[in-house]
């Protein structure tokens, strides 16, 4: 009976309708590509134009050249004076954020998940709560606090912020992933006389490697992409990071849009490359444990 209903439900021109659906899907695909790429195309186009061509009604660059990139690489404009130094600051912040997030996050997850410390759920809830506090809300008290501590214009104040906002996510992922590693492994090692520290270094960390990579990528991208705290806490040209310097361009009297866009592209390339390299693991991390609903 059920097969009969299917046949009656399918119209005779089923095949032709299928082609139309495919055409509609292709059209939607074209719309998605235009919608997604327009701002990125604009970025590349302006970066390839000369200063005068930026102020024209062109849709395509009239005379594309990589001159703006050359200016950025050689720091050949007064606003780009410390470009490589600022790039280095961004890298430094990124590196320490990843390291400290993984260190702090894995230790506390080990204690809660593997050693099952009493009241560990309190820490899990604390992390969850931190995850749900929007970063912008703490900016004002944080700024004043850092001034009191004498950490204004110091990249370590930024590292502290990024680690604070990256660890809650790290704790979730580590706890979720840790459940797939049998506890018997730890117990067997303990019976053989390993101390908790040895279990942590020799069993826990090696087995957690995939989760460490996912969280490390997340922390790196978070630190690299963050703007608000870096803008508030770093005002000196030498301690500044690339996004803060870039935003300063925007507020200057005459904005050299082609140099800005070239700077923006040079700044955006590392995270995009890292994102696509670790995309599979990031997505796996995001949905780890299954989204059963």
């Amino acid at each position: 009976m059920s097969t009969a209903t299917i046949q009656t439900r399918r119209p005779p021109n089923y095949r032709r309708r299928k082609i139309w659906v495919e055409v509609a899907a292709l059209l939607l695909g074209v719309v998605i590509v235009i919608w997604t790429l327009a701002p990125i195309y604009n970025m590349v186009m302006v970066a390839l134009e000369s200063h005068n061509d930026v102020f024209s009604t062109n849709i395509f660059p009239a005379d594309p050249s990589a001159y703006s990139f050359w200016i950025v690489f050689t720091e050949g404009y007064w606003y780009l004076e410390y470009f490589w130094h600022q790039y280095e600051n961004s890298l430094y912040i990124g590196f320490w954020t990843v390291f400290l997030t993984l260190w702090v996050g894995s230790m506390v997850s080990y204690s809660i998940g593997r050693m099952r410390i009493r009241h560990g759920w309190l820490l899990t809830n604390a992390a969850l709560l931190t995850y749900l506090v929007p970063a912008a809300f703490l900016a004002i008290p944080f700024y004043r606090m850092m001034q009191t501590y004498g950490l204004g214009n110091n990249v370590w104040s930024i590292i502290a912020v990024e680690v604070t906002f990256a660890t809650p996510y790290a704790i979730f992922i580590f706890q979720q992933y840790g459940r797939s590693i049998p506890l018997e492994l730890d117990e067997a090692a303990r019976i053989d006389g390993a101390s908790p520290v040895q279990v942590y270094f020799k069993i826990y960390l090696p087995l957690m490697a995939p989760a460490l990579v996912a969280v490390g990528t997340y922390a790196l991208l978070l630190a690299w992409n963050e703007y608000l705290y870096q803008f508030l806490l770093l005002s000196n040209k030498r301690s500044m990071t690339v996004p803060v310097a870039l935003a300063q361009f925007l507020n200057s009297d005459e904005s050299p849009w082609n140099y800005m866009m070239a700077t923006a592209i040079v700044y955006a390339i590392p995270p995009v490359v890292i994102y696509y390299m670790f995309r599979g693991r990031m997505t796996a991390g995001l949905t780890m444990g299954g989204v059963k609903g």
Binding site: A25, P39, A127, L232, L286, G293
Partner: protein
């Protein structure tokens, strides 16, 4: 359920023990010391950089006179309207299209896979460069959008960011959707992939195809995930500073501020940190229920973001 199960397992394995050892969770001497030691870095970070700023912020914004001043300020009133529109339109339109597009990306074929790689680009590229690019695209005289309108349709485009409040706010919301939709699409796509194929086959046998398949099979299974994503996204959007700051910068005439940008403006541009904190804290009545619901949802279901 997730956190409860850890405790339950611990109880089951534990041997009969004294009150003293029960307080330590069944861990012995040095082991207990190590377990504590492993928690210290996180507890330190949490106290120094979460607890302390939170209470410091509450103390800064505790005076009732600040709130009276705020509620009488026309810019603040506009900002509240903007924030509500930003959340109501931005979050919901984004989530709705993300839900539809996640269905689209379930299609088979190599070009859909390739398209997905392009589609996640707004999420992969750092916010700041693209926001600055969009800011320039919307320039009245030389921006790409008005250039296209002029070259293709021969019409003068409007001044997107500096003439009308609604055009500027619309630009902010559109940019927000552009930036954040890919992430939530990927999350919902993973949710769809977790639905067993047999359910769809069974539904097809019963005659549910196309839109009815979506209403009766996909959506009920995705509803919880969709709700959690919407709430979570609402909270994240409340704290979104970059979009409004870089697209409209609060202009024209301070009419498109949202609470996150207004708080920062009050605190740093007009140097009144107490007022800035108060502006941000005035959102707590909205925040607290959202956080409570989410804490509950995230702990009891297996949704993990």
């Amino acid at each position: 359920m997730a956190s409860a199960s850890v405790i339950d397992v611990g109880r089951r394995l534990a041997r009969p023990r004294s009150l003293f050892s029960r307080l330590r969770g069944g861990l012995q001497g040095t082991e207990y010391a190590w377990a504590i030691a492993f928690c210290i870095p996180y507890v330190g970070v949490f106290i120094a950089f979460v607890i302390f700023p939170v209470f410091y912020g509450l103390w800064l914004g505790h005076a009732p006179s600040l709130y009276i001043e705020l509620f009488h300020d026309p810019i603040y009133q506009q900002t509240i309207v903007n924030t509500i529109l930003y959340l109501a339109i931005g979050v919901n339109v984004k989530m709705f299209f993300a839900l539809l597009l996640s269905g689209f990306f379930m299609r088979k074929g190599w070009w859909v896979k390739g398209l997905l790689m392009i589609y996640v680009l707004p999420w992969a590229v750092p916010a700041l460069p693209t926001f600055i690019s969009i800011h320039w695209m919307l320039n009245t005289q030389w921006g790409l959008v008005n250039n296209v309108l002029w070259d293709v349709f021969g019409m003068d485009g409007p001044g997107w960011l500096d003439t009308s409040r609604w055009l500027a706010l619309g630009s902010v919301i559109t940019t927000y959707i552009w930036k954040n939709m890919p992430f939530w699409t990927v999350i919902l796509l993973a949710g769809r992939m977790a639905i067993p194929q047999e359910l769809y086959e069974a539904a097809e046998v019963d005659g549910a195809t196309g839109i009815r398949r979506f209403i009766h099979v996909s959506f009920p299974l995705l509803a919880n995930l969709y709700l959690v994503c919407t709430l979570l996204s609402t909270i994240f959007t409340l704290g979104d500073f970059n979009t409004a700051n870089f697209i409209s910068g609060g202009g024209p005439a301070l009419s498109t501020h949202v609470l996150a940008t207004l708080g920062i403006r009050d605190a740093f541009e007009i140097a009144r940190p107490q007022l800035g904190v108060a502006a941000v804290l005035s959102l707590l009545p909205l925040m607290i229920p959202l956080v409570v619901i989410l804490m509950h949802k995230l702990r009891t279901s297996d949704v993990q973001l």
